[in-house]
């Protein structure tokens, strides 16, 4: 029983970080039909921006995080949208898919050549102190990860639902044609989405790097999980990506323990296929609005 609880709690903690990456993924999809195959690298790279801030520029760590966030929002948000995605938007998904795959390779290689090929330790925001709950060991980090992700997601929901800009972004995502004829600056709303995605990715990076270490090759597994979480939860709902992330985190742990550790990724993959067959819009997705 305590094992089971342990698996669930650890799964939720990592799952909450996956959720952050997955939410950004769905936001980009909604705003511009961008399937970002470089999403994992978007989570990998900010850790290095922060490390550059703290180790190369000598900034105190909290300021280095701010520095990393700013650089990420500019490069992975603004530059990515303007120089890479925008010119391809009128040509459908495929060029974007290919360009983001290549971009992922490019980002990996840049980090490897110009920072280091070796994994780097990354300071944790929360202590690694632990306490016992019914025999399961929980660390402050687990709780911290869950809390920070929850706050970020609630803040995002409030922004999207309670502000005029947020609602304009929703309009852009759900019906860009209508948004345009109402005078919403569609391109700017899309840009905001890209910047929010970069910020969420930075947050995920800060949370996952102390556990996962910062390394150029980390993007691939993270990206795949984010992708899975987004599809399972529902491509057109922030809530869906959240549930998808948590679910993948937990199922991954459970299938490793109770199914077979050799087939552990099969659990989430089978879930993906079942979801596509039975509920293609995702667990919490709606079939209205844009369709995949």
């Amino acid at each position: 029983m305590s094992d089971f609880l342990q698996l669930i709690i650890s799964g939720l903690s990592t799952g909450s970080i996956y959720a952050l990456a997955a939410i950004g993924f769905t936001l980009l999809w909604q705003a511009s039909q961008t399937i970002n195959f470089a999403q994992g690298e978007f989570v990998m790279v900010p850790a290095f921006f922060i490390l550059i801030g703290s180790r190369v520029l000598g900034l105190p760590f909290p300021i280095a995080i701010g520095f990393g966030l700013a650089v990420a929002v500019f490069t992975l948000g603004f530059v990515f949208k303007r120089l890479v995605i925008q010119p391809m938007l009128p040509h459908g998904h495929l060029p974007i898919v290919m360009a983001t795959i290549a971009l992922a390779i490019l980002m990996r290689e840049l980090v490897k050549e110009f920072y280091s090929a070796e994994a780097q330790t990354f300071p944790a925001l929360f202590s690694e102190q632990t306490f016992d709950v019914f025999g399961a060991v929980i660390s402050h980090q687990d709780i911290g990860n869950l809390a920070v992700s929850a706050v970020a997601i609630i803040a995002l929901q409030l922004f999207l639902g309670r502000t005029r800009t947020g609602r304009s972004m929703q309009a852009t995502a759900q019906n860009p044609g209508v948004a345009e004829i109402l005078g919403v600056n569609v391109q700017r709303m899309v840009l905001y989405t890209f910047m929010i995605n970069a910020a969420l990715a930075t947050l995920a990076s800060v949370l996952i790097s102390p556990i996962y270490l910062a390394k150029f090759s980390n993007g691939e597994p993270i990206g795949l999980v984010a992708f899975l979480a987004a599809i399972v939860g529902g491509f057109n709902q922030v809530r869906g990506a959240l549930v998808g992330g948590l679910l993948i985190g937990v199922i991954d742990n459970l299938s490793a323990a109770y199914l077979s550790s050799e087939y552990r990724i099969a659990g989430p993959m089978i879930l993906l296929i079942v979801i596509i067959l039975l509920r293609p819009q995702g667990l919490l997705g709606t079939s209205e609005g844009r369709t995949v």
Partner: protein, 376 residues
């Protein structure tokens, strides 16, 4: 070798073999310079390049300067096969690499078909078990190191049961199979057998399984980063059992990345820069002076590989590949003869190496050599 080198240098000084000294001997280094194996392949390559410069400065091999062409496999088996072929087409006399077993198993078919000696840094047991007469290791295969670990578990710790955590690729699978076989031979029960993926982020589930098995010891056979993640999670879940590993687990990188969680782990190391031998210490210093980072066992493998190649060619006495391969079988190189071979080493008729190795323990962030284990 040094006699010959001295002779050659002397002759060259008198201008007798001036023409010969201008000749070069081409070797090919096929390694993982990009992709997941980049860290490993770069250390291997850097050490080889350092060795080549030293050998050339000392007069080269058979009076010829070594020239090394480096090829990047991108850590991809098929690419490595193509590149070994390319290195041979380019005129490489002998091939160094690859380090990843998955690549070596494929590309050694090419050198075998064409009779080119190849010195590899891979540890998968199967490499020397396929009857390839041209493949040689520069470090132990897992089937050589596992008996030493088994002996330690059995006699040193008196363990009756063990839990195993291994990475499910060619490296891990080979080590795992060799280890489990040794455990069966000694009657130690494997009570948990947990595989993980390369690049796995979350080890909570692995550790939960290892922990609930309540084994007398935990044996870890993962790559460096995954080792660090596992160690952190083991400490987090308060696992008390002794943690035992092989070479990679005791790597300096693991100690650094696991931020204290490696304290107290023990294991067997084939090559370690922390060994108290003067030759190894001198090598480690030259390496870090030149490249600005600390050498690891992969660098040592590369260094041993290039000196093995040079010595074998020198001893064969002529540029005959078959003769070099024959020389390498059942060859022994001692530190007296060639100091930069780092440790006395012998090869058997399958190309497997045998040499002394170390039993080490991590205390704080230091690796302490507890014992020297004889060659087997």
């Amino acid at each position: 070798m040094f006699k010959t080198i001295t002779l050659a240098t002397a002759l060259a000084t008198f201008g007798i073999i001036g023409a010969a000294s201008a000749e070069t001997l081409k070797l090919g280094n096929v390694a993982e310079l990009s992709g997941p194996g980049a860290t490993v392949g770069n250390a291997w390559t850097d050490a080889i390049n350092m060795g080549v410069d030293e050998i050339n400065a000392a007069g080269g091999v058979l009076g010829m300067q070594l020239e090394i062409d480096t090829y990047d496999t991108q850590t991809d088996a098929q690419t490595s096969r193509a590149l070994v072929q390319k290195a041979i087409d380019d005129g490489a006399f002998l091939i160094l690499g690859t380090v990843y077993s998955s690549s070596t198993i494929v590309n050694m078919l090419v050198t075998m078909q064409q009779g080119i000696p190849q010195i590899v840094g891979s540890e998968s047991p199967s490499i020397t078990q396929k009857g390839n007469p041209y493949v040689f290791r520069s470090s132990f295969g897992a089937q050589k190191s596992m008996p030493k670990i088994a002996a330690y578990l059995d006699e040193g710790l008196g363990a009756k049961s063990v839990a195993v955590s291994w990475v499910n690729n060619e490296f891990g699978k080979g080590g795992h199979d060799a280890f489990v076989a040794e455990m069966e031979a000694r009657g130690i029960e494997v009570v948990a057998d947990v595989s993980s993926e390369v690049g796995q982020a979350d080890f909570a589930s692995d550790v939960t399984q290892l922990k609930s098995a309540n084994a007398d010891a935990i044996f870890v056979y993962l790559h460096e980063e995954e080792s660090a993640r596992l160690l952190k999670e083991l400490r987090k879940q308060n696992v008390e059992a002794p943690i035992i590993g092989e070479t990679t687990l005791l790597n300096q990188k693991v100690i650094e990345l696991s931020e204290g969680a490696a304290d107290g782990i023990m294991g067997h190391v084939g090559l370690t820069v922390d060994a108290p031998n003067p030759e190894i210490q001198a090598f480690a210093k030259r390496f870090s002076d030149r490249y600005g980072y600390k050498a690891d066992h992969n660098a040592m493998k590369g260094y041993v590989a290039i000196y093995t190649a040079a010595t074998a060619i020198e001893r064969a006495g002529e540029l005959d590949r078959q003769k070099v391969a024959d020389t390498l079988h059942n060859m022994t190189i001692t530190v007296e003869d060639v100091p930069n071979i780092l440790l006395n080493v012998s090869w058997d008729e399958t190309g497997e190496v045998s040499r002394e190795s170390f039993l080490v323990e991590v205390q704080g962030d230091e690796t302490i050599v507890k014992d020297m284990l004889p060659a087997n």
